[in-house]
Amino acid sequence: MRIRYKILTGYALIMLLFFAMIFLSLEQGKRSLLTSATQNSAMIADSILMKTAHNIQKRLDEFSWYGLDSDLQQALLVSNTHFAALADHDRYIAERDEEWRQTPLQTSTPLMTEITTSALSHDLRRKFFTFFELNYGYLGFSEIFVTNSYGVNIAQTNRTSDYLQADEEWWQRARKDGQYLGGVEYDESSGIQGLTIAVRLDDHNGDFLGVIKGVLPLQSLIRTAEIVTREYQTTEIQMITDAGILLYSSKVAQLGKNIAAEPYFLKIKEDSGYFIDQNSSGRSRLFTYIRSEGLLNSKQLNWIVMISHDPEEILTHSILFEKKILLGGIAAILLATIIAFYTARIIANPLTRLKQAAASIANGNLECQIKQASRDEIGDLAQTFNDMAVSLSESYQKMHLEIEERKKAETALAVHAQELAVIGDDLARRNSELDEFTYVASHDLQEPLRKLTSFSGLLVKDAGDALPENARKDLNFIIDAATRMQALIQDLLALSRSGRKEMTNLPISLDLCVDDALYALAVRIEEIDAVIRRDSLPQVIGDKTMLTQLYQNLIGNALKFTGEQRPLIHLSAEIHGEKVVLGVRDNGIGIKAEYCDRIFLPFKRLHGMAEYPGSGIGLAICRKVVERHGSEILVESEPGQGTLFSFTLTRAS
């Protein structure tokens, strides 16, 4: 991957990581907000329950307080006295109750009109209706009426269904317990749900005077309890009975409807809690609920306050912030991408130029230089590269010159080699011709020399006695000279043969060669009592005849040039891998260093013939043999210290 892509990817990953962390934080914040909202809702729900209970208690207290009103007490006292004076008050009540119940709702009997328009009834409306309506705009009560101690109406704000109330539970319970708190009742005529309260009315002596009953309109009762400044527009506050009857909703709703089958109601399991539910359109709502354990200790008032919000509204700021972060993030990523792109260009372009320059140099343009635009590390790198290119160019020029010179030298060497080859060929041809000549000459000279010595010998034999002494001496000189010349030619012929002979390269035993050589020299060895020591000699690749001749010549040389000591000859062999270094060491007279090169030349002698007889051809033959076996013969010697001849042969595998 290119550097610019690495930088871009790096930037992108860092930005993604950064925003992932921000979004994780936001998610945590959202959870906290929702938790906080449920806690607030739980507090509000608890407060609504308390205020509702307080409102109910307040109405009960208002009734109790109103029970002390002197006009009310006087009216009740008068009514009770009136009924007490009746001969048969039960019958009186029953007749009027029957008439009351039989009267259609839209009409009114004189008794009804009398009660409804009584001063006490006006007082009830003024104190309990008008006060709330005009001061607060809502109904404190939807219905109030007062009965005397006989249970019949003496005052009422609305027409009641019966005249006699003594048979009603609320009347009996209020009389017995002092007050009554009923359950929720739905009044079809008014279309509202109400809560019945009743309070026993006593005189100053505690004697029972009657009962006052009121119906509290639930919608007003709860609405006044829940009026708070809402934090959220989507907040809905509901009061539900534990049986699922909707008592109140802060939004438009069908009050009195049974919502027990609604999914959100079914999720109410505990005394309090919260959950998220979705409505039919898929919108989520966060519900928080609290169940009362019976308002004012009434088991009929086991109500549930449920507060719900749209979670999106709770999270509005958070979501808005999230969107801003997202938009900011996009802008930041785009900005980062642009920055990364330019950063990558700033870094990558010089490197690209560097690469192109390197490629140019690789293509032979050593004069290529990078334009140095920056003074940073990349600029330094470019400068170093330029320096390197200059240095490389100079080195190349030098190398080029050296190569040119070397090519010239090689050309000259080739010319010389050709010349040498020509010379070598010429020399070889001449050597060959010389060998041919030597061979032919020595071969052809042998016959006249043999005739010369034969006829000289015949002459001595035939006329030796007849010849003068001087002539006989001269003839002996001629025979001697011819014999020596014959020997000389024999040696010359041997040397010539050693260079011309067809050689065989076969595995041979050096021991056998040495044995043959020693056998040939046995007389001389015995004669001078020489000691021959020999290492174990290996098998080598070579020509047996030639190598036997080699050892014979070297050992013979050692037997010839002996010193005063008893002759001691050591035949050595040192194996070095495939090669074996062979040596012939003696303890003879030795050779001066300056003569060591000359001893291998044919007919070169370091001593007089009388002192050490010989033709001086033996070591020349030795060198020829060794050279034909691909080696060279070396000599190490000091006068009086003996001589070592050594040569190397290839071992037979």
């Binding site: 892509y5 919608q219 438009v252 069908q254 009050l255 898929g282 997202l326």
Partner: protein, 382 residues
């Protein structure tokens, strides 16, 4: 060979770069999509045919209320995720203007339901709504026969039956035996007069009624007709009431003066001629009324005006329909069905209960008197 390898390597890098590019583009597109997708649902269109010019110009506050409710709802996600789009057309307070506005809205916007101001406009457009089978909520309209035989027409306002009881209450308290009624010659004014006549039947009270056309500014003739009465009751728009009261005061009339709920208008009350006038008033002008406290503060903050019952009604209508449609299908038929099903609505004008099948959405009026531009509520059970 090297060139081949280099080409292969370059191809691989190009592919990698394209993949990185594609992924980055995809991430950016998704991010932009997620930011913008919240506003993709079709808006819920409300066609509002309002009296923005002409005699009913004061009903501009009604539009303010509707706008504020729509803004509140839209801020919290709209109706089932659909933003409310309030499309307002000026009826110019004329039936023709109302009809033209209806045709234009129906043709160009096909709103989910209509809200129409003024009885005359509502009466003029109701048949069009019936034909188009679209719910039309009229407010403020008190025309007696507005809903007669109509399936798609609803009223969110008080009727003459709601206007007259507090007035009758006051008349009783003031022992008025001769009542003069100056009323607007439109369905609303006529129904007021008829209702007062009905309320007074059987009582020792004579009633003289005289109407005036909507565009008149001179009420001398009408005033002369009722000059000899104990009290004069004026039924009309706030602008009419203001002019009539001024002209009555100019005659030196010494009897009691009463007016419809239009006199509660905050702007009109600044006219000194309103001093001492009795009226049937909505409770929102009661300082102790708790239900509109929050709305009143919000409205004043937004429009730098005191909350009027017109603004509160406009606000309530949008809130009511939005509440009914919560989680429900957004169709004209369903709006009608929901409005008819019966419900309780804790609105800013009070706890409103609509019985199943009813097309009347009424709030209560209370007897009151204007004193030093303020409304003082009187006992309802005098």
């Amino acid at each position: 060979m090297l060139a081949k390898l280099f080409r292969s390597s370059t191809k691989k890098k190009t592919v990698t770069f394209r993949v990185v590019n594609c992924v980055t583009s995809l991430v950016l597109m998704m991010a932009i999509f997620s930011v913008s997708c919240s506003s993709q649902k079709e808006p819920v269109k409300i066609g509002a045919i309002l009296s923005l010019t002409g005699p009913g110009f004061y009903l501009q506050e009604f539009r303010n209320g509707m706008e504020m409710a729509a803004d509140d709802i839209n801020r919290t996600g709209g109706i089932n995720g659909h933003k409310i789009e309030l499309i307002v057309e000026d009826s110019k307070t004329t039936p023709e203007g109302g009809k033209a506005a209806f045709q234009k809205l129906e043709k160009e916007h096909n709103p989910l339901f209509y809200v129409v101001n003024m009885s005359s406009i509502a009466m003029a457009t109701r048949d069009m709504a019936e034909e188009a089978k679209v719910p039309l909520i009229a407010a403020p309209t008190a025309a007696k026969n507005l809903l007669s035989g109509k399936e798609w027409i609803f009223r969110y306002w008080v009727t003459a039956q709601d206007e007259t009881p507090p007035i009758t209450n006051i008349l009783n308290k003031l022992n008025v035996n001769r009542l003069g009624v100056i009323y607007l010659d439109d369905p609303y004014g006529k129904s007021l007069f008829q209702q007062l006549e009905e309320d007074s039947s059987g009582k020792n009270r004579s009633i003289i009624g005289v109407s005036f056309p909507s565009n008149t500014k001179d009420f001398e003739t009408q005033i002369k007709e009722v000059q000899e009465t104990d009290a004069i009751y004026i039924g009309g728009f706030a602008s009419h009431i203001s002019m009539i009261l001024t002209q009555i005061r100019a005659t030196g009339y010494s009897g009691h003066l009463l007016a419809t709920s239009g006199a509660a208008d905050t702007s009109a009350r600044k006219n000194p001629a309103f001093e001492g006038v009795y009226l049937a008033s909505p409770m929102i002008y009661n300082q102790a009324y708790p239900y509109t406290k929050e709305l009143s503060e919000k409205y004043t903050s937004a429009y730098h005006l005191p909350l009027s019952h017109y603004a509160a009604t406009g606000y309530d209508i949008v809130k009511l329909v939005a509440g009914l449609l919560s989680g429900q299908e957004l169709s004209r038929e369903n709006v009608k069905k929901l409005l008819e099903q019966g419900y309780n609505f804790p609105g800013s004008m009070g706890d409103i209960r609509v019985v199943p099948g009813s097309h009347e959405i009424n709030f209560q009026l209370y007897p009151a008197q204007i004193r030093q531009e303020k409304i003082h509520f009187l006992s309802n059970t005098l």
